[in-house]
Amino acid sequence: MSPKPVRSASPKPITIAKMSTPARRRLMRDFKRLQEDPPAGVSGAPTDNNIMLWNAVIFGPHDTPFEDGTFKLTVEFTEEYPNKPPTVRFVSKMFHPNVYADGSICLDILQNRWSPTYDASAILTSIQSLLHDPNPNSPANNEAAQLYRENRREYEKKVQSIVQESWTSDSEDEEEPDKKS
């Protein structure tokens, strides 16, 4: 079984709110750059009608238990972006020492080490590298952290099951505001 192709960056033009703010301008630039110079293994695009809310996909990195997984995330920016980090959450089920049960992520650059020099592309690639390089010292999921430290085989088995789930859960996921009513 191979992973289903994932809807990538939508080619439709994005509606820009009338009042352009630095955050919105910057997000347009971030999106343009993601399209022109896409980093390997990640993709992301604003949702229709809302440049502040993005859908993203991270492909599990090669040579890791996450390989072949297609993990969906939401990235929610505020008007303070890029001075403040966005809120990033896995929508797909995740089993990882630094991901909470609700999908939110414990990653220093999304919290106290955020730098305004990061852009959407850097955020997604940092999360991708967190997948194969967990930090068991700041666990968000105790079971995952413990298995990662003490029973790597069991850890990998659990990860593989969420990898498989990541392919199938895609089909029910049509609640995105894609369709114009």
Binding site: T21, P22, A23, N83, Y100, D102, N112, R113, P116, A140
Partner: protein
Amino acid sequence: MAEAFNFDPDKNYDEATMEQQRNIEKEISANQALVSFQIDFDTVSADYSKEDETYLGKIQDLKIKYKCVRRTRGDGNCFYRAFGFAYLEQLLTNQVDYARFKEVATRSKDELVSLGFPQFTIEDFHDTFMDVVEKVGTPCTTKELHETFNDQGISDYLVVYLRLLVSGYLQKKADFYQNFIEGGRSVKEFCNQEVEPMGKESDHLQVMALTSALGVAVRVVYMDRGESGQCNHHDFPEESSPSVYLLYRPGHYDILYS
């Protein structure tokens, strides 16, 4: 009575902390301008109780030497914002230094990129920074500059760029600055933790770096609990003739006018 705290291992406490932090920030921003109008020292005295003789005495001392103050918002960015406003305000009427500064500012982007900063995002901040520098060179009034610095979006971009300049300068001179960094951190780690993130307060090191990076001399006047009755000051770099005057009260910088 407070409820007993039950640790929930599945709960993301980082987000709760950040939410609380955001609420504090909101309250501050509702009450303080990013950069205030000029105010006199009697208004500053009102910050203190009548019994606070140490501070009130020091305000009298300031009153002799300086004309007035502009407050900046206490959001952790006050040093950068105070410096930025005070210096650009000066450049409104100093064409010689303006030309010098514009060149330094223009060049700075390539320097940062050559130090390894990501070009794409640096450009974004640099463009906005240069827009404001350009504006200062066209006939621009203090009022317009003041409005620009109170436009949160632009104002914060200026702060970010000044932070990046500090980070770049510290990293460029890492051999020297390493000696001042505590906690066994590298200069790069220090910059990632203490310089680049918005809202991180500035210490001597950041003041030294920014004044050196831009070639601008600053006098910091300290108003603390020291018993001398007078405010001490320190010039960055030492023995320079300062063009920007900042008032430091523990944890906060405002602008002074002589």
